[in-house]
Symmetry: C2
Subunit: 234 residues, 2 copies
């Protein structure tokens, strides 16, 4: 649906990493606060293209030139696409590291070869319900394959934070990232959005610092929204 | 000199990590833009205390309670203190991970047991001159010991960025972090500082994105200054 970059990864386990983005269309979720709803709500339908791995790689080179060695696959939910295996293999053959984020609702065998894999189950404010049995299964497969991965939960309120805690406690050995949610997707002026985002990040930090059950965690903002606001494609 | 937290690590390879801070006094450098000059310029002299490893650990517990499993040792230059080995051993025995940052001007055998080790050589704007032979030696020792570590360079201008590139190219296999420098240490109002810091971060991103020799890099701000400004002890 989109190929853009190079830019910095704005969130999670490889925050700050110079990377290209490939965004796939389609999602099995419809999160209330999704910041890429155009991938699944029909509004971006005209931008959907069916591309081979080679065509995607050519577009990465055309857009990003020689200046990258890392590609992030995002969505939608890229785990809906078994055929991503060929893109991942091609990128690896070219010496490029691959990051991918998915909510953990579907398994793909190629999860085990992703270099920076993030499972991001969705908290109550999303309106979605996590299938914990499925998540157990996926995390079991990843652990068996000794894949390095992390968990990330976006948090908007105290109920979300309670959900995040149950996830962290359920999978204690997995690196855990908490991210302050952006509840203001309609603000078009980055300067007006920034104080709100800083306040939300500080709110989350305070809760986590006071909670003795949340110890081995990272608390991060979405850096790209701090810099570019709600602008798409950066 | 200081024991505080828990708070989030604001920069570098473990950005966002919930951690306690232990700050040591004394430095072999006097960087022009040092944000902790009180550790070496005499102004913090009254706060310097000579503490045993056990006393430091007791203070960590008194200040941080039960809510931490990670301690960051910062300075000053903690690499001036051979006796830190006993603190690191004690923390490890308590199941606590240890991060440490140093400029790479002095070697300590305990570098090899640090969990999150950052070498941060200083660019031209600091007024310091890097002893590259010494840095080669330290990185050689770390590589031989298979210690996982990263390099971080703070960047204020294009000359600093050119310096950062020479470091990145000299040690190509080492994870590399670029950090936008805070050239406004006197601003006391975080809200007034924030637009300046965002602008400096965006400036650095633009340069790095356009530079094909800087590929496998992370570009990060100092998150704590975005949230708390120049306030000490957070």
């Amino acid at each position: 649906m989109e190929v853009f970059g190079p830019t910095v990864q704005g969130e999670g386990m490889v925050i700050g990493r110079k990377t290209m983005f490939v965004r796939t269309a389609g999602c099995d979720y419809q999160c209330s606060w999704c910041d890429s709803a155009f991938t699944w709500d029909g509004t971006g339908k005209a931008d959907i293209r069916l591309l081979s791995a080679k065509e995607i790689f050519d577009e990465l080179l055309a857009v990003g030139g020689e200046g990258f060695d890392h590609v992030t696959i995002s969505g939608g939910n890229p785990a809906l696409l078994p055929q991503l295996a060929s893109l991942i293999d091609l990128l690896h053959a070219e010496g490029i590291r691959v990051a991918l984020e998915t909510q953990g609702s579907r398994w793909q065998p190629w999860f085990t070869v992703i270099d920076d894999l993030t499972l991001s189950p969705k908290p109550p404010t999303s309106g979605m319900v996590t299938d914990l049995g499925k998540l157990d299964e996926i995390i079991g497969e990843l652990s068996q394959a000794k894949t390095v991965f992390c968990l990330k939960v976006v948090v908007f309120d105290e109920a979300d934070l309670a959900y995040a805690k149950t996830i962290h406690i359920r999978y204690p050995g997995v690196p855990f990232y908490l991210q302050a949610g952006n509840g203001n997707l309609l603000e078009t002026d980055p300067a007006a959005l920034l104080p709100y985002l800083v306040e939300r990040y500080e709110w989350l930090i305070e809760f986590v610092m006071d909670d003795n059950e949340l110890r081995g965690v990272h608390v991060l903002p979405q850096l790209h929204t701090w810099v570019w606001g709600n602008k798409k494609g950066v």
